[in-house]
Symmetry: C2
């Protein structure tokens, strides 16, 4: 698979996070000649938070994580690619149990401190024996640095590994945030086929971590869409080792968390945007900003209606500034909008205002903008003050080729 034309220049230089180590292996679950297993280990005392798919047909690993998150303690995250262990019935649950048991024994921790995620084919039994065999060996290979190797091991149809790092502070003490993600199709709000794992050395109890993660996910991963399809397996986990020197903070509203919150959201936005940049067949990265909506949630729904519209996405692929289709998508969102106050800008140029085309607007800069790889659409729906930004990509022949041929 050719690397996406929207990929960043390279994988970022990612530093160690104190108390966090990684290792990868090739189990041969489905792929040949590449890694497909990743273990992330955390020192004792680490907290964890998570946001999981809302799919009603969630995979066995998602169900395991959902049941363990309330305790909020983590020693290991085990991730495999090549098989999603989804729609595998009781066999799938048994596979998770065996993998968790092996990881807990291997790392000498409780089973409830092991989190799992699987991505790949749906409906085939996970050959967990292959995973378990490697789990016995992996702890010896753990190292603080191989973030890129971890990002590569969790890839499926991704064309590039996705990582991000942010350095911040809490109460004047340095704090690091590192994250990796995978995903390129079946990407939609509510955490599409998307896996993301972030780790920090911050010292935060699970409840605080969970609150911060939920807020940040709502403005990052839940604001992207590739094809509107939500996966059975979406998992975003954030672990905190507590090794940083700042005092323990027990209230998510503590003002000392402000820089950390901003860094976390920035990190998750970076990862989420990389997922969109690897959207199947994508040739354009599209930022849709909606203002003037009844609320932030309404603005996001309008933005997603635009970002999920096949007609808008194909117009962008065709480099056609077809704002009529944007009007259509605003209308179908079901959210309040004032047709006669609706305004649309493309590439910063007003093309529609007060419910009709801007008479005689200069089409040349708009046409030039549509030819670029980065498209900006701004919509004001003329009702209130709700604002949101949504990221998506175009819908091309590449998406059809990938998905009409890929046999899951």
């Amino acid at each position: 698979m050719k690397k996406s034309p929207l990929a960043p220049a390279g994988f970022p230089a990612m530093p160690p996070v104190d108390g966090v180590r990684l290792a990868t292996a090739s189990c041969g679950i489905k792929y040949k000649g590449r890694t497909d297993l990743c273990l992330i280990a955390f020192d004792p005392g680490s907290s964890i938070a998570g946001v999981l798919t809302r799919s009603k047909t969630a995979s066995a690993p998602v169900e395991w994580c959902r049941a363990r998150l309330p305790r909020g303690r983590v020693r290991a995250i085990v991730v495999n690619s090549g098989n999603a262990n989804a729609f595998t019935g009781k066999k799938g649950t048994a596979s998770v149990d065996r993998v968790v048991k092996a990881a807990a024994e291997s790392l000498d921790c409780r089973r409830g401190e092991v989190f799992v995620a699987s991505t790949g084919v749906i409906g085939e039994a996970l050959p967990d024996g292959l995973v378990i065999k490697e789990l016995a060996r992996l702890p010896r290979k753990l190292d603080p640095l191989p973030w890129q190797a971890a990002a590569e091991a969790i890839m499926t149809t991704d064309t590039f590994p996705k990582g991000a790092v942010r350095q911040t502070e809490i109460a004047g003490q340095a704090v690091t945030l590192c994250g990796i993600a995978k995903g390129s199709g079946m990407i939609a709000p509510d955490m599409a086929t998307m896996l993301a794992f972030a780790a920090t050395d911050a010292r935060l109890p699970p409840a605080v971590l969970q609150r911060l993660l939920r807020q940040s996910a709502d403005q990052s991963f839940n604001c992207i869409t590739v094809d509107g399809d939500t996966s059975t397996s979406d998992t975003l986990l954030l672990a905190a080792s507590g090794k940083a020197k700042h005092p323990r903070i027990t209230d998510a509203a503590d003002p000392r968390l402000k820089p950390f919150k901003a860094a976390l959201q920035d990190l998750l936005c970076d990862l989420a945007q990389q997922v969109v940049r690897d959207g199947e067949g994508a040739s354009k990265f599209v930022t849709i900003t909606v203002g003037g909506a009844a609320s932030r949630a309404a603005a996001r729904r309008i933005g997603l209606a635009i970002g999920n519209s096949p007609l808008v996405k194909t117009a962008i692929a065709g480099e056609d500034a077809n704002w009529g289709r944007i009007v259509m998508a605003v209308g179908k969102s079901g959210e309040r909008a004032d047709r006669d106050r609706l305004a649309i800008q493309i590439g910063g140029i007003a093309v529609a205002a007060r419910g009709e085309a801007v008479p005689g607007y200069d089409e040349a800069p708009v046409a030039a903008h549509m030819k670029g790889a980065t498209i900006d659409i701004q919509v004001d729906v003329g009702i209130g003050r709700g604002r949101a930004t949504v990221w998506t990509c175009d819908l091309t022949h590449g998406y059809i080729s990938i998905n009409a041929d890929y046999r899951s």
Copy 2:
């Protein structure tokens, strides 16, 4: 544009409906060398009912119809193609006023008895002068027979004209139902870019007609999807001339209406399915039947989640019996489903049951079914007794070609 491979063999032989006459003209609104205006005229005393788009950015003609439907009286329906008169601000409303005035003068009726619909480009002012000029001449051309000419005049990206006829009875007296429709992209529930006009000689007051139309639309036009995009202009109108010999019926629940109800729903299903068969780029006609849901509405939402999923639609285009994507789509619908009781049949062959793949099912007949032009998917979600059927088409390179190049 090449005729859809899923098109019916030909246009049906459509009889006159007593009290209903049609005429068409070429105004030159956008297209050259074809008709683009259709007038359907009704004798005095005719009733009308309608179902209109729920888009929040509805077109000026839709707003006109919405305001006039409660009175339920009709003498004329004026339809143009080539320009949707949508997102045209106050100019759009003024255009509708002028067209309605011209039609009312031309037919010597009240303005409130004239209904209008427009389809085509969004955001450009309707050159209503061209329409008005033809409206002065059209009444002389009115004739009971030219249903096919009417169906052709309202086409936009359609590759074939769409018509249907049903003969039924009310209280033992013969009743005829004739209908035409257009639409091929921007097709989704809540009445996508779809125009449909049906006429009958039944003798039914507007309230009864409205009730019957709403029920039938919910199980026909609101059960189809091509691309999930809802248009600003969707309009379904049903007029009744009252010329049939049966006694006037004033209650929609009257048992004597049973055959008429069945015929109406059958007619609308026929037209709706023709719209799907003309779906942009469609190569397969897909029937999705969902059973075992919490309610009929839940079953329909699950069916539409499957029918709108780009991953399901591209798998069908690729002739891949990828039931994992169907599981995913059930999960994302948000409706209750029992993952461990979910069962899926493709072409009548059980491929998944009790939450996992049917061990060793025979792939050969399933693969053969996927190669056909008509695909049947049955899903049982294992919760209740709600059932619904949804119709859609596959998502192909043809859709991308049409929509990435079509400049609206």
